[in-house]
Amino acid sequence: MKNTFILEARNVNKRFGGVIAANDVNLQVKPGELRCIIGPNGAGKSTLFSLLCGIQRVDSGEIFIHEHDVTHKQQFKRVRFGIGLTFQTNRTYQDLSVKRNLAIPNPSLAHSKSAHQQSKERMVMALKGFDLDPQDETRACELPHHKLQWLEIAMVLAGFPDLLLIDEPTAGMSRDETDRTVEILKQLNDHGLTIVVVEHDMHFVKSIAQKVTVLHQGRIFMEGNVADITANEDVKNIYLGHAH
């Protein structure tokens, strides 16, 4: 059977000292999907992203991007398969101008001409939506927090990925800014970009997600649509710290 997933993790395990950060995780993301990953603090969400991108290596298990086995690939090589990542803490280049920040990602990574064209359109869409000027000479550290978050998303898009991993994009944002973020991400998703978001904010999750994965203690606890998840008693317990 042909594998149709853009991103797939099979039986991934990772352990730090005595802490189990990923316990037999299986994750499949289809092209065009907009997936949310939720879970309480320490559930292993950010670790999972690190493992998917190769910042950390799995102890066992396999990872596929576009059906390529990337388990033993260096992180920058995985990026060349079309994966893009924003970090939990903002990692724009603080001392460089907005213009310079947007110029650093390498657009030559897109696989094909049509993908290239599509990505370019997405980029324009994001810049417009986030109100960013690619000629802006302001230093990034002078931007307000939400602008920095948007800048990082725009920067990643400037690398022309077709799979975007976003780690807590709306942390610290106001309700309006969150809504704006949701809107743009939806637009991008409609334009064919696959997006996986790690998020705490249930308001955000409710307004964006098609499918939600719940992580708990390094394990996939549940997967389903938003309504099912929010209705589930066990999920509530996890968040309140009861479930084991």
């Binding site: 920058f76 090589k77 990026v79 990692r91 460089l96 310079r100 650093i104 990602p105």
Partner: protein
């Protein structure tokens, strides 16, 4: 096309982008060109010594200031190039090709060592803070090895390595029968320094240079844009080793001599000092600091002043405390702010 080159030279990767700056820059270069006319050959040759250290300082600025990798042992490549030149040119005395072969050989040898070493360091993804210590270990290793090469068994062709006393009688570079010495050597150094500066500015303003700066700012972020930062760091390391080699090659022309202490602990720290005092993130600042600090040190020692090291140490501590980005860079920023403000006031 022309404007593109001009943009590469004048771009913002270094302090000084304004028209006033460039006019000033050209005036200073002319003053440097005129300097030997007014002074004795000794002064010119002394100034040449200050100049010939600049590529080493620039290499440090490139590697540490722009790429964020601190090497505490770049003098190793200085030494390897100098020794290799001495061996090759010394064995081919009388053959006009020998000197060029020496230069090429020197550059190749240090590139090779730097390449292998940097491969070990960067492809192992060694922690950032370990790199200065590893580079230091390498240069101490080289010094220890060269120090015990006094005997005849350490003869390469007709050239003795000379142990701690060093290699003597290294031939000066010449074109035909014209030997670069005194005044002419000063001009040779001046031209090489200018070429290095302009070429580095162009490199750093190019895409490649921008990514290098991004690596300094945030290596992981940059890698997650798909750049192989190991390869880029490797290349920058090798490039800066080549710059150090250029200094080494000029040094052996200047003194016709090189010793293991040239790659020892004290020498190793010097380029780091130049870069930190001037401001490592600016090529020009490092150039200025290299010139001034060498001059100050020589002046102090010529007076027989025992306090030279205390003064230099204090200067270093004060710089790091109050001018963390370097005295020259922060002064330039201050001037920049001041002129901006006065410009604004003039327009209002």
């Amino acid at each position: 096309m022309n404007s593109k080159i001009l943009h590469l030279i004048g771009g913002g990767a270094d302090i000084g982008t304004s028209r006033t700056f460039w006019i000033g820059f050209i005036i200073v270069v002319i003053l440097f060109a005129l300097y030997p006319i007014q002074v004795s050959e000794f002064r010119a040759s002394n100034a040449a010594y200050y100049l010939l250290n600049i590529p080493l300082g620039l290499g440090m600025a490139l590697l540490w200031g722009y790429c964020g990798v601190l090497s505490f042992g770049h003098v190793a490549y200085f030494g390897i190039a100098g020794y290799t030149y001495g061996i090759i040119a010394g064995n081919m005395v009388g053959n006009s090709f020998g000197l060029i072969a020496g230069v090429i050989g020197g550059l190749l040898a240090s590139t090779l060592v730097a390449g292998v070493f940097a491969y070990f360091v960067f492809y192992a993804r060694v922690r950032e803070w370990i790199i200065p210590i590893l580079t230091l270990v390498l240069t101490i290793l080289l010094e220890t090895f060269l120090g015990q090469t006094a005997g005849y068994q350490w003869r390469v062709g007709s050239v003795l390595l000379g142990g701690y006393n060093g290699m003597t009688g290294i031939p000066s570079i010449q074109i035909g029968s014209f030997v670069f010495m005194g005044y002419s050597f000063y001009y040779l150094c001046l031209i090489i320094v200018l070429v290095c500066y302009v070429a580095l500015r162009m490199l750093l303003n190019s895409n490649f240079g921008q990514v290098v700066i991004a690596i300094r700012e945030d290596p992981l972020r940059t890698e997650m844009f798909g750049y192989d930062i190991r390869a880029r760091k490797w290349l920058v390391f090798v490039l800066s080793a080549v710059l150090a080699s250029i200094s080494g090659l000029l040094y052996v022309q200047w003194g016709n001599y090189i010793t293991p202490s040239q790659v020892g602990l004290l020498s190793a720290a010097l380029p780091v000092i130049w870069a930190s005092v001037g401001g490592r993130s600016s090529l020009l600042a490092v150039i200025i600091a290299t010139l001034i600090l060498n001059w100050v040190n020589f002046t102090l020692s010529a007076q027989g002043n025992q306090y030279a090291m205390v003064i230099i140490g204090t200067a270093l501590v004060i710089t790091m405390l109050f001018f963390p980005r370097g005295i020259v860079v922060m002064t330039a920023e201050w001037i920049g702010k001041f002129t901006n403000r006065s410009n604004n006031e003039a327009t209002h």
